[in-house]
Every structure is written in structure tokens, then in C-alpha cells.
Symmetry: C2
Subunit: 361 residues, 2 copies
Amino acid sequence: MTTDRRSGLDLDLGGRCSAIAYGWTRRTFAAREGRDGAVSTRLNASFSSLVELGGRQVGITSDGVGTKVELAERTGAYGTLGYDLVAMVADDLAANGFEPTNLTNILDVDRLDERVVDELMRGLAQAAGAAGIALAGGEIAELGARVGGWGEGMHFNWCATAIGVLAPGLTRPIDGSSCAPGDAVVAIGEKGLRSNGFSWARMVLAATLGERWHESRCAADGRTWGEALLTPSIVCCPLVTALAAKGLVPHGIAHVTGGGIPDKLGRVLKVHGLGARIDRPFSAPPFMAELQRLARAPASQVWRQWNMGHAMLLVVGAEDASRVVSLAEGAGFGAQVAGTIEAEPVIRIRDGQEEVAFPVR
Amino acid sequence: MTTDRRSGLDLDLGGRCSAIAYGWTRRTFAAREGRDGAVSTRLNASFSSLVELGGRQVGITSDGVGTKVELAERTGAYGTLGYDLVAMVADDLAANGFEPTNLTNILDVDRLDERVVDELMRGLAQAAGAAGIALAGGEIAELGARVGGWGEGMHFNWCATAIGVLAPGLTRPIDGSSCAPGDAVVAIGEKGLRSNGFSWARMVLAATLGERWHESRCAADGRTWGEALLTPSIVCCPLVTALAAKGLVPHGIAHVTGGGIPDKLGRVLKVHGLGARIDRPFSAPPFMAELQRLARAPASQVWRQWNMGHAMLLVVGAEDASRVVSLAEGAGFGAQVAGTIEAEPVIRIRDGQEEVAFPVR
């Protein structure tokens, strides 16, 4: 059993529990074989599932915003968490080539506060609009002491399920199987932590700045640490749809969430046992670089915890890379060619003067 | 503001928050109008949403098992909650004429216990199998102190989203619009509380039996109160599909969850401002009758909190009622003709020698 002492989470136990859950899930596929609801095993390594409905390939995925909620509780700002919730599920679908169409959400609360519910749902509706998604219902569950959190306000946990159809021009999902050595890796920039790596970030900040760390100003940033960590996620799914519509279908897409680039790009590349050299990553946003400094941790640890300024990595044909960058920039995203796919199953990332290597397995 | 002092929940605040959430949800429908993901407003009064995907009408709904989780924590028996989770979402879909095809689940935990995860997921897989549903992914989120519960074990909250297609023979969802005076109400029996009314049940039992009420035996039942309250939900969706396949499409279906028959049958009947006379309801299961006795509450209160032995009410043509009952009994469900649809917008329920009346509004 390996305990990740930095984040306080037992990663092996988490992996074992996920495997248990998937084992039981897998046994239910037979119930719909050959008819509506048939689940494809094609996306086994992905976070979306592929379901056949009336001959259409439909993507479905579920996730939540995790402990980022504590940042809303600490700052009293609830209006942007909806962007995180939409990004977590919609961009997991987009990473497999699905255009997200609908989203349902479940808000578990200890007790209700109308103002907070209003701000959360307004943000969710705005984020859904930005993503081209229609909300299709939801549930608010009052669970009393089953839900806890920071401070005195309404505490909550928030999760969602999104469904979608194949993006225009696609006849099957994107699963990394068409990645090849020589492909370019186009990075889409991120300004915040998205909705991952908060356990460690909070631990680092509490250890160096004390319990009310969110009120301290980040020297590199000008904002409070609370504001910096609350930075809403960039929603990438419309970009994937736009690329597909122009015939620029990525060969593989890594949505950079838990486990960072090593885990999420690794999942895409392991389909064919490939690797990548990321020699021109984005610079981490100033607050994230400062967080790295405060953590006094090796780069290998940091890149596995935080996205370091990357929302998505698009693996595209080398000949398409500059058009993909232009189209992304034209749509308002930060984008640059960050590296290349290589035959050796290792992800090498340049971190300042250093190079950090992560085996793909 | 009306506080429901019996359950400790502020029902008006809950209603206002749901209205706020729906208001924001409604504004996002424009994002998909006329294309994949278009949300129909036809099912406004229902718990399923209707979405168009590739010309197919797809149902989607989300819900959780609420505070019934505490019963698993109190008894240490985790294997049946999956039936409650499947029933909550699958039978909401079935109530609108959808055959549920797939389900995703999100398990929020404070910390992980492999054995508990295994039991929960085994039960979920079994329940999905019973419902003819293929699980299509899920998420386990470790949220530390954001999740609480009873006793020392792993605490968790559990929710799901289900999708489905129109049941065979249906060309549009069931929404109550074809109910008419003279229709029969066929009740499908339930042996437990399903996943609703637990706040009040726990309050009543704690007040009369003390904090460890789950260990006391229910005189009328032989089981402990913990075992009785944990009774798994009956999953009705395969019955609705089977009825539709035989051409016996119900005119309206009430899935009896929160708010009981008055609320759930009321939602179906208010489409045309109809009422019902339920003069032959099921007898409440012995433990529920005993709970009613302990609660010392008027019948009007009890019927709004608990299902009193009813999982679903099917509104069918009077001429079809006996075939529906036979088919349900043949499939292993308890079923009986329980009443009739009437023109006056009142639901009248016989409770022993009494009759309780609930206006439909």
C-alpha cells in the first residue's frame, strides 16, 4: 500500500476501489448487449462511456467538483463553481470526441440557503451556455449532517452527469488509437487548478500560511490565495467540436485532471504504448508556480498533482498543428505546440532547466 | 415559511430552491433547440427530462438514496442499497414510459473501505441486472470531512443518473395527459419505505426507542427496526416495459416517492385537474403500520410522508385493469385495483375506517 503522504490520499486503495467498482459494472454490460443501451468496451481506459441508443453512439460520464467547494465556502463566492462542474464532465466527453448536449446535476446540501443555491445554479447555467449544453434536470438533496464543510454557511457537494453525441464528422469516438510517433501535441492553456489537486494545495497552504490561508495574498499574483485557487475551469468542449467541424479531428485528447499530464496523457498513449516529449509546455500560472515553490517538492510530484497551466492536450497530425493553434487562439483559448509523440513509452516534460520523465504504463 | 416540524425539513424553502434551480435550468434549453439535445417541456411536472438525440426521444433523470444510507451504517448491511438507487432513478424514468437502459453512479465517501465499496457495487450490479440496465461508468470521490454519517465506518452519499428510451410501442412519453375519469388505478405493492420519509421515521423511532432504535425489535414484524427500515425498494421498471409490450400502456404512472401518493399521484392528475378515489389501497406493511402508531400523527400527515405499501400507481383504462393486475402478479409483483380516477380534483384515500382527502393542485 502506497500512501501519497503529500495529499493525504491512499492512491492504491483508491485504485483498488475503482477496480472493484469497474469489475461489477462490467458484469452488467450483458443486460443490454445488441440493443439500446449496449455499452462498448472501446473506451475502457477513458472517463466517458460509449452507449448505443437507436443506432447512435452516445457518450455519458459523471463527475463532481470535489473539495474545490471549500474555496467557495472560504471566499463566499459561489458563482463560478458551475464552470468547474461543466468542465469536469463536458471536457471528459470532449476528450473522447463527443459534443456534450445535456447535463443533469445533483446538489447534496446539509441545509438550504436560497442565495447560495441561486448563485450556484446561475453559474451552472452560464457555464452550460458557454459549453452549448442544455441542462436537463437535477436534484437538490437535503442530507443534514451527512454533508460537511468549512465555516458556517451552507455546505454542499456537487456532481453532474453529461451526455453527448459524436462531434460533427466523427464516425467513432476518439480513444488515442490513431496517435502515432511524429504527431504534434497542442496544449490548451489553463489559468487555475481546474477541479483537481486541491487536497495537496490546501495542505501546502495551511502548513505555510496557517488555517486562514485563503485570506493571505499570493505575492506572485496580487489576489488572495482563496481567489487564486477558486479560478474557474476553462471549458474546452466547444473547441473540440469546432476542430472536428473543420476536419481537424485530434488523434487523441488528454483532459488534464487528476494525476496531471503524466496520468491523463499516459492513458491516451498507452493504447499503443507510445510516449511524448513535452519540450514547450505552458508556464504555470504565477500562483501555481508559487504553490510549487511553497510545496518544496520535486517536479515529478508537482506535475502529477497539478495541471501546471494545461487544460487539454490535443494530439494532432504534425501538418495540422499550426491550424489547430490558430483556430484555438481565434476562439479565445491559449494554445501552443507543446511537443511531439514519440515511440518510447515515456512522457518527458521540460520544467525550467530540468526534464522530468514519467513512464507510460 | 412553513416548517414541517415532523421531519425537521423546511418544505417551502425546499420548494423555493427547486424553483430557483429549475428557473436557471429552463434558460439553458435554448442552447440545443432544434438539434441533438433539445429538451422538451412536455415533462415539466415530472422527474424525468425528455431529450431528443438523433430523432430518438431519450429520458434522463438523477436522484440519490438520501439518508437511507444511515440504515446501512447502523446495520452494517450494504448489499441492498443498490436496489434503492436503481429504483429511485429507473422507476422515475418508467413513470414517464421510458425503458431505462443505462445508469451511472457517483459515490461520495469520507474515506474508503474496500469491503463496503464491494458490497455497495455488488448490490448495484444485481439491482441493475434485475432492472435490465447496463451500468455505464461511475465515480468514487474521496471528500474527507465533507461527508459524514452514523458510527465509525465509511460514510457516504450515493446518487445516480439513468437514461432510457421509450418503452416498446410508445411514440411519446407518458405524462398523465390521457388520464380520464373512470380510469382504474392499479397499485403495485411495496414492502419498505423505498428511499423516502426517513427523516421523520428516524425522528419518530429515536423519540420512542432512544438513539440505538435500530437494534430494537419491531413487535409487529419480528425484525429489528434497522432491518425493517433497510427493506430494499421494489424495482418496477421491467413491469412498465412488459405492459407496454403487450399494448397495455398506462395513461399515467405515479412513482410513489417523496410526498407519498398525494404528491406523486397529484402531479400526474393535475395535468387535467382530475382526482382519484383510492378506496382499496394496500395495507401498510406491519412495520409501517407500527411506525404510524408510534408517530401518533393524523393519517393526512402519514400519507404525505410514507408510501404506506405502494411502489407505483398505474392509471389504466377500466377495461384493462384486470389484465394489468394479472400480468403484474405473474411477474411477481403485488398488484390490485386500488381505485378510480374522478373528475373532482381531490385524492381521497381510505385509511381503515377513515377517509383522508388531499386536494390536487
